[in-house]
Point group: C2
Chain length 417, copies 2
Amino acid sequence: MGTAARGCGPLIPSLSESSRPLRQQIFERVRAAGLMPRVLVAKELGVSPASVTTLTSELIEMGLLIEVSARRDTADTGRGRPAVALGVKADARLVAGIKLSDREHTAVIVDFAGNLVADEAIPRNPGSMELSDLVDATEALIDRICARAGIPVEQLSAIGLGVPGFVDSHSGYVHWSPVLSSRYVPLAAAATERLKVPVHIDNDANLVTLAEQWFGAGRGLSNFAVVTIEHGVGMGFVLNHRIYRGAHGMGMELGHTKVKLDGALCRCGQRGCLEAYVADYALVREATTALNLTNRETQSVNILLESLFDHAKAGNSAARSIFHRAGRYLALGLANVVNLFDPELIILSGERMRYDYLYANETLAEIKEMALNTRRPVPKIEIHAWGDLLWAHGAAALALSEVTERVLGATREMAAQ
Amino acid sequence: MGTAARGCGPLIPSLSESSRPLRQQIFERVRAAGLMPRVLVAKELGVSPASVTTLTSELIEMGLLIEVSARRDTADTGRGRPAVALGVKADARLVAGIKLSDREHTAVIVDFAGNLVADEAIPRNPGSMELSDLVDATEALIDRICARAGIPVEQLSAIGLGVPGFVDSHSGYVHWSPVLSSRYVPLAAAATERLKVPVHIDNDANLVTLAEQWFGAGRGLSNFAVVTIEHGVGMGFVLNHRIYRGAHGMGMELGHTKVKLDGALCRCGQRGCLEAYVADYALVREATTALNLTNRETQSVNILLESLFDHAKAGNSAARSIFHRAGRYLALGLANVVNLFDPELIILSGERMRYDYLYANETLAEIKEMALNTRRPVPKIEIHAWGDLLWAHGAAALALSEVTERVLGATREMAAQ
């Protein structure tokens, strides 16, 4: 560590949790809850009702929150007093979320409360693209979904853009992605320049985590881990109601933690990555052996996996052993998450959480065998399957986060007493 | 996740970074820096000099900070204008730090600026103790070091107490420790009751991390990881100038992450833990084979290891292969830290970082082979060897943290605008 890095303050402003104004925290709690009375906001944040009243007045004046009258549900008399809850003003802003993947591009537009306004999916031919082609594809998709929503592109406050691979959300650079033919690509800047709307990028796992936090099983939870198992293995982590990306926004690569020295080859080029034991391609490369296939390269991953799954269910021992080993390695990976991050809940999330072999009781028992032996029980593990728009929803949540940060989190001075 | 856990706010107040008052942040930055001009404080925290002036006046009035006049070092004229820096008022508080271990108990008393006032070490017979015996030992040590410092025990504002094992710093419970004969022991409460001074507990790795942050290679750094390799393998992590213990204070157990399915037996009773490949006992159990020893149980760990090390240096291939494998597993563990936490710096810290085989260029090259392949270089890795009082210093840093939190961080209302 050179002296230059000392004493120069946080490098990544958005990691400075301590500077997040209370006003922003209030807004985020209300959005997570949907509707929330002021007294509950005050209680949750541990501040006085008077402070909450002052700050929510500001948020209402800014056109971000609204008051919603709701009669209390008192079954006995029907004379419940009217209660006022706070809610997000849905039409305050619109954002878009886009997911670019190998198979198809998907997009959603949501309002400021996260309600779906429009959605769109375009199939594509697999393969990596040049940056300009990828920006072209993004622009075409944005034009199309805005037309569907009946709004001009300029009405979007921000666009969230998700790509698989190693993505530095803070700098807006993609270090490596299967959809891009180059490394170290300034994707956020290029897309922002083209679309004239701020574009924020992130990787798959963080998008899923944001989707769970804003729209899914993580709504209102202060901490949880999300693990995704599909083409790769990803991880996201929410701590104190905020997504945590490692110290510089490039951590949480659970899929590339090493679970065996000199182990199986991973598509990242290294050996022994967790992903190389549990991702779909890891199963597929063993499937040909189990199914006694000749080398028919033309079979798609999905067809091969479905066939392998059918054989396993029918009792084929080679097919079963593939799933068995994958399940054990998954258990090892999840136990490591428990031992390092100690989360309240682990959500196994993904577009298609189909292969229940991976989430069998056996796997859960193995996690317990490998998690720290304390009095505390192993965290609850929930399986959450989404439809095709999961990733785009996550990208929209990213855009909403960034807009909120821009509108409410910009001035550090507000944290001063 | 049951509904009970939703919407009830953060469970662990000290994890609520967002509530840490700016006044406390200012104090902590000044303490980390030693001496710091107001303008630099303002710059680092991204707030106005006016806010800093107001808040430092409060801190000076509270008797926690002082102004120190220092003539600027202008070599050319000697007429540099006098500059005023802020410093911690050293005699504002006194705290003690104690480390209880299998081999000896150590203690220090430090002032509020972290200066050593007195130290003490008492050898002991190995073996676990009952809670009451352990509290007796703590009391005896505190009496002795207070006598040495010439102060009554009541003058201590807090005591930090470090024990090896699985320690929940927030609840004050020890889930398991080699120095305690029972599990799930309310050590902090029992010691506080006896000593009539607030006692805070934590595990080895967090103490070393605090020692590095307050007194060592981590002073003033916003994020770094600390990995300790001795009787076990520990890890601590500082994020945004704060120690991060996992979501519930029981994470960061790097030594018990699994690096091999069904691997070597660990002293925790599970298989395949990193510790079971790199800790001293892991080396020792192979050493008898390498050194062709008969089973002489009486040889101490240290003597066996020194002998093994000598043989390796002399070219004994079996001895070398033990260190070689340990070094490779260490590289794997550190690469996993990089891939998950993405730290700026990793400090390999410990009381005796002797076995340089573990930190050879070979090991560093292996880390690079297993860390995420991005344009960013692998984080810098520093080796930091301390004397015997490392742990006690860390315990004192824990006590200082807690006192600071108590004096400056208690009221969340201060974060309200």
